[in-house]
């Protein structure tokens, strides 16, 4: 059995004054203090874009001393946008197998060391650099293609699509760790500056830095248990799928974790990977929580904020809480842990017993799913 005994987060922001180390230290210190432990025997660092932005290799080795744990074991994990949950998978394996007793999982990433044009070029690396990524796809080009495909396929207009970002901003407004703490209307989201038409600035995650950390322990300590973590790899491009809007690697990861559609409907709270508005709808329809073409209307009708289905992204999601690429999965886990403890300092899901984190790289080159349960 693996439990989460401590969590820590920094507010996501453009932290020009703080480096990777300062952010990691801030989150790790809170998590260790929350756990009330003296030491850990393994550090797992989840990070992705920092390899391009900061350029530090052997991140675990270099961070260990700075965090005060020189001499502990350490390993860094990189799986693009899904690095955080990939880090959990490694930590879980180390604990469940008895290799480690206490693991510090730190998700940390910097996206603001360069101007946005250079950062977009770094983000293109999340896609197949010898396939789609050979062209000038930016960070949002593939998402733009998929969003237009969805709107044409199901006859959903631009304004209806904007229900998701409006809900996410409403949630982030009261999350002290969120980057974008202001409300927006669907009208405003739909008519914002275009990034990759039909995608606007308000359909995309913001560019920000952040760090989140967990202390995990073998045994039955901690209020929250990591019941399962699973994953699957997928096609290099959505163009390889018969239906580009269906994420087969996510379906497979969910099947491996052993959750049916009925099980999913009974989850109390989920933090899902809404890198773009379209990604959220693709996830909901791949999971079967919404019928095909229905997700935007289900969101508008309040199904996912207390209307019977799982509450989605009370944090504000990648859209508004923010998406420091390799750290995001660890934020999701920290937020769900606080929800299950009844301590989340924002939109709270009362009495939540089961939480699910879903993380993808791109549109499913990797998909990860983690199930957390209140003890």
């Amino acid at each position: 059995m693996v439990g989460i005994i401590g969590v820590g987060m920094t507010r996501i922001n453009r932290h020009y004054g703080k480096g990777l180390r300062e952010l990691a230290l801030e989150a790790a210190s809170s998590a260790v203090e929350d756990a009330g432990v003296n030491g850990v025997d393994f550090i797992v660092v989840a990070s992705s874009l920092s390899y391009k932005q900061v350029g530090q290799l052997d991140l675990a080795g270099h961070l260990a001393s700075y965090l005060g744990y020189r001499g502990s074991r350490g390993i860094a994990v990189e799986s693009g946008e899904a690095s955080g949950l990939a880090g959990l998978m490694v930590a879980y394996g180390l604990l469940a197998s008895g290799v480690a007793d206490k693991v510090l999982l730190v998700g940390v990433d910097k996206l603001t060391e360069y101007n946005s044009g250079e950062t977009y070029s770094h983000l293109e690396g999340l896609y197949d650099v010898e396939g789609d990524g050979f062209y000038n796809i930016g960070h949002a080009g593939i998402a733009g293609i998929l969003m237009r495909l969805y709107m044409n396929e199901y006859g959903v207009d631009r304004l209806t699509m904007a229900n998701w970002p409006a809900l996410m901003h409403a949630n982030a407004k009261v999350n002290p760790y969120a980057m974008l703490r202001f409300a927006i209307t669907p009208e405003k989201a739909a008519s914002a500056m275009p990034l990759a038409d039909p995608i606007t600035l308000m359909d995309s995650y913001p560019i920000g830095d952040g760090a989140a950390a967990l202390v995990l322990a073998r045994g039955d300590s901690g209020d929250v248990e990591v019941s399962r973590v699973e994953s699957s790899t997928g096609y290099p491009s959505p163009a390889h799928r018969d239906d580009p809007l269906f994420i087969e690697s996510l379906r497979d990861a969910v099947a491996r974790i052993g959750l049916s559609r009925e099980d999913l409907e009974k989850i109390d709270v989920m933090e899902i990977h809404d890198s773009f508005t379209i990604t959220a709808y693709m996830i909901l329809e791949t999971l079967g929580l919404s019928d095909k073409g229905r997700a935007p209307r289900d969101v508008a009708e309040g199904r996912y904020n207390g209307g019977g289905a799982p509450v989605l992204n009370p944090s504000g999601g990648l859209k508004a809480r923010g998406h420091p690429i390799g750290a995001t999965g660890v934020y999701q886990l920290a937020e769900l842990t606080l929800q299950l403890r009844g301590e989340f300092p924002g939109v709270r899901v009362d009495g939540a017993k089961r939480g699910l984190a879903i993380s993808l790289n791109g549109f499913g080159s990797s998909s990860y799913v983690a199930l957390l349960t209140a003890r």
Binding site: N115, S116, G117, E118, Y120, S121, E124, V129, E130, G131, D132, F134, Y135, N136, I137, G138, H139, A140, G141, I142, A143, G144, I145, L146, M147, R148, L149, N152, P194, L195, A196, D197, P198, I199, Y235, P236, S237, A239, H240, P244
Partner: protein
């Protein structure tokens, strides 16, 4: 980047994909293993046939290397039943329409700022009337 481009020049100039002899699927770009069934029985296959625009995006947020090309019109193109992601050319954002007929043509993709090298690859342009013949 320079060597990667050189390695892939046949792919990029001629739309060379893969045909799996085990499961029959054709896909792009070329891979020595089938991405559908894992088979090693994969042969090179040039993508041919009618090309049609499935969907597209007008991309403004591009990398510094591409800033003079912005906005980039990025498309998902169905060519003979195989879908590929590629840039469109010789068309303005207002003229693009899902479903339109396209043809491949060799064009510049980026200029490498440091070396000044120019990279070429297949892009797609609206089919210029009649039966058209695949622009190479």
């Amino acid at each position: 980047m320079i060597t990667r481009h050189w390695r892939r020049r046949h792919n990029l100039y001629k739309l060379v994909g893969s045909r799996c002899r085990s499961c029959g699927r054709v896909f792009y770009p070329y891979s020595q293993r089938c991405i559908y069934c894992g088979s090693r029985e994969v042969e090179q296959a040039r993508l041919e046939g009618d090309a049609r625009l499935v969907s597209y995006s007008i991309v403004y947020s591009v990398s510094d290397e591409a800033k003079y090309e912005a906005p980039v019109i990025l498309g998902m193109v169905d060519i003979g039943g195989v879908k590929v992601i590629a840039e469109l050319t010789d068309v303005s954002p207002g003229e693009v329409e899902a479903g339109m007929s396209l043809e491949p043509v060799l064009r510049r993709v980026t200029v490498n700022g440091e070396s000044g090298l120019i990279y070429y690859a297949v892009k797609f342009r609206p089919r210029l009337g009649g039966s058209g013949s695949g622009g190479d």
